[in-house]
């Protein structure tokens, strides 16, 4: 929200700047152009010494304003620590200093136009001398090829040895990326670690849940549980028993780039509303919870992994097994489902 607004304000400000600039230029440019004389070609050095008592007074006044604003900043720091006033005082101090310098540069000091000849790079003789100096350094070498090959061996071995400690920066990937705390028989808990009853969820609602006793910050921990009408569900045949009275559970971490899938939409009026969906707010990957979280829109390449559910005698929800696939963002060679 603020990003767009910020961008728009910045664009607006820039447009205003350009506009003012063009207007200013026009005003200065026009009268000169009406005259019939060709524009003067500047001489090599032009110098005009201004006599500007008024400009000098203005510069001095600006400098005094700058100092006063700086003093005001210090006073405010002690007396009334307010971000707006602090920014205003320091900003105005800088602005006054800038104004003083620009006025001084344009109206107090001599105005000069100076022409400088460019230096020519390049003296072929020097280049040749360098070349022969370099080559003379290898005078008398008889087995250049052997030395180069040996040097290559040294560079490769030493290079590898020098770079290798970088490997200590992280663990090897191995199975880590696929591991999750979910096991058959693990209870689902809410953010306050309370077990969840099937009846806590109304049809059309969704809820964030975790495995009981596990670290909530693991990529494989958090799930979304969604309650739909049982007849709405269209799960693959082998997952027929994975839902409990219309409650289904999917990994909360988007299979696209790893954000939390934190948006859920459910039709308020079925004829006009969109179908139920879990949506990731980062890039709007949209998953259909009725059909095993198949991707229906957006950039995600595979469905959210599903967690099989069952309930105990007290109607608490618990996992009936592990995820249907690896949770979290995709990586090369990740199994699709």
């Amino acid at each position: 929200m603020s990003g767009l607004r910020r961008a728009l304000t910045a664009i607006g400000r820039f447009a205003a700047f350009v506009l003012l600039f063009l207007i200013g230029r026009r005003r200065r440019g026009r009268p000169g152009r009406v005259s019939d004389e060709p524009p003067p070609v500047p001489g090599p050095h032009e110098r005009e010494v201004p006599s500007g008592r008024r400009a000098e007074t203005l510069v001095a006044a600006m400098l005094v304003v700058c100092g006063l604003c700086g003093g005001a900043f210090v006073a405010l720091y002690f007396a009334y620590d307010d971000t707006q006033l602090l920014g205003l005082s320091l900003g105005l101090a800088f602005a006054a200093l800038a104004a003083a310098l620009v006025v001084a540069g344009k109206a107090v000091i001599p105005q000069e136009t100076y022409t400088e000849e460019r230096e020519d790079f390049g003296d072929e003789e020097v280049r040749e001398e360098i070349e022969s100096l370099v080559h003379e350094g290898g005078e008398g070498l008889s087995r250049r090829g052997m030395l180069l090959a040996a040097g290559g061996v040294a560079a490769t071995g030493l290079g590898a040895a020098v770079v290798w400690p970088v490997a200590s920066l992280g663990p090897s990937v191995g199975d880590r990326i696929r591991k999750t705390p979910w096991r058959a028989g693990r209870y689902l808990v809410d953010a306050e670690d309370r077990r969840i009853l099937v009846d806590d969820l109304d049809v059309g609602s969704f809820m964030l849940a975790f495995p009981e006793g596990a670290d909530k910050e693991l990529l494989g921990s958090s799930i979304n549980i969604v309650r739909l009408r049982p007849q709405e569900l269209d799960l693959p045949r082998e997952r027929a028993g994975w839902a409990v009275e219309g409650v289904v559970a999917y990994s909360r971490i988007c299979t696209h780039a790893g954000c939390a899938v934190s948006l859920f939409r459910y039709p308020t009026y079925e004829r006009t509303s969109s179908a139920p969906a879990l949506v990731c707010p980062c890039h709007y990957s949209t998953f259909d919870p009725r059909r095993a979280c198949k991707v229906v829109f957006g950039p995600a390449g595979r469905p959210l992994p599903q967690l099989p559910l069952r309930m105990d005698a007290a109607r608490h929800l618990l996992a009936a097994g592990g995820y249907s696939g690896p949770p979290g963002p995709a990586y090369p060679r990740v199994r699709l489902q």
Partner: protein, 483 residues
Amino acid sequence: MTRRLVRFLDERVGVAPLLRKGLRYVFPDHWSFMVGEIALYAFMILVATGIYLTLFYVPSHEQVVYHGGYGPLQGMEMTKAYQSVLDISFNIPAGLLIRQVHHWAADVFVAAIVLHALRIFFTGAFRKPREINYWIGITMLALALPEGFLGYSLADDLLSGMGLAIAYGVFLSIPVIGGFATFLGFGGELPGAPEFFSRMLVLHVLIIPVAIGALLTVHLMTIMRQHHTQFAGPGRTERNVVGTPMWPGYLLRSLGLLFAVAAVLFLLGGLVQVNPIWEWGPYHVYSGTNGAQPDWYLGWLIGGLRLMFPFEPHIAGYTLVPNPFWGGALFPLVVFGFLYLWPFIERRWITRDHGRHELLDRPRDNPTRTAVGAAVLAWVSIIFVVGSFDRLYLRLDVPYEGQVWFWRFAVIVVPVAIFFITRAVCRELKAGGTHPLRGWSGGVVARTASGGYAVQGEPAAKGDEREVAAHAPDGGNDAGDRA
């Protein structure tokens, strides 16, 4: 006084000849040359405010319960990193001012670099002998983007966490090395190892800024050696440079610009709120929010990620290239590849010109370059804008999915159209010798008594034509460019 100081220095380091040369160093006068200076001055302000912020920031993932000065977050679990940024904002006098100035300065810094790069590109200032300096500049832009991203990621609020999650997804999607490289950087899976925030901090406050500072030094020294380019005009040739000498005129004006930039940034930092992290709340792997947008300079990447088709090639049920690679990694690689290679491409296939150039082109002087540049700019800009089209949906109810489908195709068609339009306009302007913004150069056609047609009177903007004619020997420049 001056003499004593100069003597003191000269007798010890022999600087007098260099100083004399430096004081007479000539800067050509053109407003567009100041954009690069704005980037330089924004960088200086970033360093100054950044040092201050570093003295308070705690790069730690450790979870704490908040009991600080901001009521609504009381009792919330958060990382020490986020807590320290809240403390900078609420407990440290002038802390919020400095933090907001730093954030605004980063936005202005990248904007100034981009505008500066556009000026260099469209006026052909990258041509021999300035290719190396052009590449240095592009490299600084390439460093400025991750530098800014790391900066707002360090705050560890909800938005920065979502950004890091996306970065994790993009790194993970790199073919072959994705998993390995990501684990090296993050020290494990998202949200990263305990030392991950120290690593980001070292990159943000030391490695990247020092790299930018070093490149900046080389950039400026190279300019000093080569002198600035200049637009063609009376008295200006390929062999000289005409303008205001460093001392006293340009120094005063440039310092004025420095303090003007500081004034704008401090007024923005004091009066215009930016990134109010306390409103977003702390980040957890399982939390997200709608309406998240990055800082503007990463908008093109979120646009690329959002616009991409759900294309993920796979073999036998195993993914080859995960989708975030296309929009998040390949797209910026293509854009930067284009920027780096353009001097070669132009020299090899378009101008076949290996000569040295000190006078700038106007955009119309090289229609193909301008057209290619405009097309690429349009391509990147469309993707940039698409990154925030969800706002159009939320505010104006324009269907989001329809917009995305439309732009998935229009993003190719529009730049092609812009290429041909720009090239035609440039050729027309070049042939006509008129300026697009200054006056009308046509004539009124009237039927004569004998039944023929003739142009009535003189062209309205007579002045323009005369000036172009007067400047033609030097390459045909406008009077306005000397303003």
